[in-house]
């Protein structure tokens, strides 16, 4: 096989951190190469240099054997490199077609003179392309109206439209449902079979196992090595990237269900745009219980969480916390009566990115003793010692300790910070929305252990996740939501993964 891409001694530094340290790696034509590494290991950074969004401080990149200076995505495009970013790069108020053709718009001329974008034929071309690769999209939809999985298809189409030969996927499955993941992996395989070269960044070892040919492992900015997937076990891979053994299955402790903590009765919720997302949902949650809400993204799970936390108003029904109706309470009153919430959107809801870590870790407690005194004056030392304690307990990694701006931390560490803060609230009810999205196996293991521990301590946990595996592993009972309505609530032991999946697709309809 030919070497298509070669990194030679690449180094890239950011303030206070060496993101890539002397990395060498070569990628063969027609293979699927997975890149594995902990959060902040430098995976995205390495790829963004291949795509011209960053420029290496040292080292060379060779494409098809030729040294290239990839100074911008434009150059990358010309070299037939395409990338699906971890955070999508889409213009929200434009249509799918407009997004796909951006930068290489086909033109026509009015009166043979004035050029304009030929949207019509582009739509056709997008439609064809989407058929050819089985990536269904409606070319006319506006991005802000479509779900995540469709957005991802748009990103892939964008690359294909540009005839990319080298396709980079940065954690493409983090936001998808199991079914969607299956189909994406299928698509990626197809792409490889049609001759494309694929680089896949992911934290999910089973995905690597399923489709990747080789796997490069990064650890703290350094290249650990490249391994043949077929001859390496997932255990070995995770040990290599974390530097220790990781147990991938939880040895869940036996525990007892306690008193009721949360009762939701006939809850209906509308978004700020008055779209009904949750329809008469009822359930109860007890101490020592993990209740998981399963569902395809966008079916109202997040809105339930928001309504319980007070971020969205209750349209109908009531929410009882320890027997008390909290549906009219302010956010703060709910926090104080024992609701901790790890939100889905860690960057724009969970954290204030321009505050230092210290302030972010005290975000829900700053006004209480001992962080503020009775006259409303902040006690910075207290805040700092809390922050330091959480940083060390939860192994939050950052450039300059408590003073690091949250913005400059990697996504995984941002998530760890939020989880640390919320657990530290000592609330009876903890709502986790996608707590392990985008996290490395090491971090996932820690969080899963933590959830199990919390349950053992008698906390009530509401777990909302798109990862069926996670749900199956942690949940005591499972509520499946479809179109805002409860499909079923059952003990986890009473359902198989397959059944849950079917409920999620709305296949089974259970009459109450």
């Amino acid at each position: 096989m030919d070497t298509l891409v070669e990194f030679r001694h690449i180094t890239k530094r950011f303030p206070g951190i060496v993101a890539n340290n002397d990395i060498s790696l070569s990628i063969q034509k027609g293979e699927i190469l997975a890149i594995l590494g902990e959060n902040g290991a430098g995976k995205s950074t390495l790829m963004s240099m291949l795509f011209g969004m960053q420029i290496p401080d040292e080292g060379d990149i060779l494409i098809r054997g030729k040294k290239e200076h990839i100074s911008s995505p434009l150059v990358a495009n010309d070299l037939n490199i395409g990338m699906v970013h971890q955070h999508f790069m889409l213009v929200e108020n434009q249509s799918i077609t407009e997004n796909i053709i951006m930068g290489i718009e086909p033109k026509k001329r009015y009166f043979g003179l004035f050029p304009y974008v030929d949207i019509q034929s582009s739509k056709e071309k997008v439609r064809e392309l989407s058929k050819q690769y089985q990536l269904e999209v409606d070319p006319e939809s506006i991005i802000e109206d479509i779900p995540v999985s469709t957005r991802q298809r748009v990103e892939i189409l964008k690359m294909l439209y540009r005839n990319a030969e080298i396709l980079i996927f940065d954690e493409p499955t983090a936001v998808l449902t199991p079914q969607e993941i299956e189909s994406l992996l299928g698509i990626i395989k197809n792409l490889r079979d049609s001759g494309k070269t694929i680089i896949l960044i992911t934290h999910k070892l089973d995905e690597i196992k399923k489709i990747a040919d080789r796997c490069a492992i990064l650890c703290k900015g350094k290249m650990v090595g490249v391994f043949d997937v077929a001859s390496t076990t997932t255990q070995e891979m995770s040990a290599l990237m974390v530097g220790r053994e990781v147990s991938l299955t939880l040895s869940s402790t036996e525990h007892k269900r306690g008193t009721e903590v949360l009762r939701v009765e006939g809850l209906s919720v509308e978004t700020n745009e008055h779209i009904r997302k949750v329809d008469k949902v009822s359930f109860t949650l007890h101490r020592g219980e993990v209740l998981s809400i399963a569902g395809v993204a966008g079916n109202g799970q997040v809105e339930i969480a928001d309504a319980i936390a007070g971020l969205l108003p209750v349209k109908e029904g009531a929410i009882f916390l320890a027997g008390k109706d909290i549906s009219g309470c302010t956010v703060r009153e709910r926090i104080e009566s024992g609701v901790a919430y790890i939100p889905e959107d860690r960057q724009s809801v969970g954290l204030i990115l321009d505050f230092p870590l210290r302030e972010n870790l005290c975000l829900k407690q700053y006004y209480q003793d001992p962080y503020s005194n009775s006259r409303g004056v902040l006690q910075k030392q207290e805040m700092e010692s809390l922050a330091k304690q959480l940083i060390s307990t939860y192994d939050i990694r950052s450039g300059s300790g408590v003073n690091t701006l949250a913005r400059s931390m990697s996504g995984g560490n941002q998530q760890k910070a939020i989880i640390a803060r919320e657990i530290n609230l000592q609330a009876d009810l903890l709502i986790f929305v996608q707590p392990t999205r985008g996290l490395d196996v090491g971090a996932i293991e820690t969080i899963h252990k933590k959830i199990d521990e919390l349950r053992a301590q008698g906390k009530a946990i509401l777990l909302i996740s798109l990862e069926l595996d996670e749900i199956m592993e942690l949940a005591d009972s499972i509520l499946v939501l479809y179109n805002g309505k409860v499909q079923t609530i059952k003990q986890a032991s009473e359902m198989t993964k397959l059944e849950v999946g079917e409920y999620m697709m709305g296949v089974h309809v259970e009459k109450a």
């Binding site: 709910r334 809801v349 954290l351 505050f355 409303g376 004056v377």
Partner: protein, 376 residues
């Protein structure tokens, strides 16, 4: 990477590089650059820049003039500087506080006119004893300004209206309406402005005789100083200051954290408005004594840039106010002595504000150089 940084870079890094007092050093560097640019301009006009800058300092009472008129001395000039600086301090604080919470209060001018007008007609023409009238004027300033501030905050929070637009609209509405009342009810036929307020209500003692000098004593300058420290303490050390900054940086996350965003926004604008109101009364019933119809004080707009020059911190706003007002106060004397258009001073001030607006860039650049050097 064995390249040593060149001389220019080294000097630049000393000025703006990371380390202690970086913000302050960057500000000083910007001031220096703008003075340099001003010098070039003055040289082009055939004037000696040192002379020009000296005469500005002389005019502002920082350096002694060669001669003084009757009952005037460097001290009277300096007191006058403080007098005129006082409203600027309040105005800059007003902008800075709002900015901390992510709100652009460009309504300072309008609020100044409004509070000045209300205080003028309620107290300015009354015969209340000074001991009652003066505190009352201050109080009215706080309340009237606060009201407008709350209005802006409320419209922004409740109706999601862009505060910049609201402020622009309010500026004009206030200006025209006040002008209407002045021209129909309170006009002085000679000065064509509102009738001067009485001495009892004025916050500046004008021509106050001390040691055969006629001093301007601004009674609220001490209040301005105290306010600077209060605001600083308030923003950096208190719970509410924390909330204010949190909301400014990310209101969604603040809401999630249990902060009452609406209350914070409105309270912030209450404070900002009150400060602008104080600027208004210390301007219209202090350094001045009457209101020009249809004129929005330039000071209100300048204060935006001044607050920026002071890095939107309270202490910074204080020194920036002083600096800009030194320029302002010294301009007349400079233009008289140097025989140049007074726009020169306004130009240099604008350049200064331009440079300070890119202070962030200097800081980032210097930090980058510093890193490069570290790596070598």
């Amino acid at each position: 990477m064995l390249k040593k940084p060149n001389l220019f870079k080294r000097i630049f890094m000393i000025c703006c590089g990371p380390g202690k007092h970086q913000l302050l050093r960057v500000s000083l560097f910007c001031i220096f650059l703008s003075l340099l640019a001003g010098s070039v301009l003055l040289l082009l006009l055939g004037k000696n820049p040192f002379e020009a800058y000296r005469s500005i300092l002389q005019g502002a009472g920082i350096l002694p003039k060669t001669r003084y008129a009757g009952k005037k001395s460097q001290l009277t000039d300096f007191m006058s500087l403080l007098n005129y600086t006082t409203p600027m301090i309040f105005a800059a604080l007003s902008v800075a506080v709002a900015l901390k919470s992510g709100i652009f209060n460009i309504c300072v001018s309008g609020i100044m006119v409004f509070s000045g007008f209300i205080a003028t007609i309620l107290v300015g023409y009354s015969s209340l004893a000074p001991i009652i009238a003066k505190p009352l004027v201050v109080l009215i300033g706080v309340v009237a300004g606060g009201l407008i501030g709350v209005l802006i905050g409320y419209l922004r929070h409740r109706f999601n209206m862009n505060e910049v637009v609201v402020a622009i609209m309010l500026n004009y509405i206030i200006s025209y309406v006040v002008s209407f009342f002045i021209q129909t009810r309170f006009v002085d036929p000679i000065t064509r402005q509102s009738v001067e307020v009485g001495q009892n209500a004025r916050l500046t003692l004008f021509d106050y005789p001390i040691m055969n000098l006629k001093m301007e004593i601004n009674l609220v300058f001490p209040l301005a100083l105290i306010t600077v420290f209060l605001i600083r303490y308030f923003i950096t050390r208190t719970r509410f200051g924390f909330e204010l900054q949190a909301v400014g940086l990310n209101s969604k996350a603040s809401n999630y954290a249990g902060i009452n965003v609406g209350k914070t926004v409105i309270t912030t604008m209450l404070i900002s408005g009150s400060l602008a109101g104080l600027a208004g009364v210390s301007y219209y019933l202090g350094s001045n004594a009457s209101i020009q119809p249809r004129v929005l004080p330039a000071l209100g707009f300048d204060s935006i840039a001044v607050a920026l020059l002071g890095n939107t911190s309270a202490i910074g706003s204080f020194f920036a106010s002083l600096l800009v007002m030194i320029f302002d106060s010294g301009t007349t004397y400079m233009s008289s002595r140097m025989q140049v258009l007074r726009e020169i001073a306004a130009l240099i001030t604008s350049i200064l504000l331009l440079f300070s607006a890119i202070g962030i860039f200097f800081r980032a650049l210097a930090n980058r150089y510093a890193r490069e050097v570290e790596e070598v």
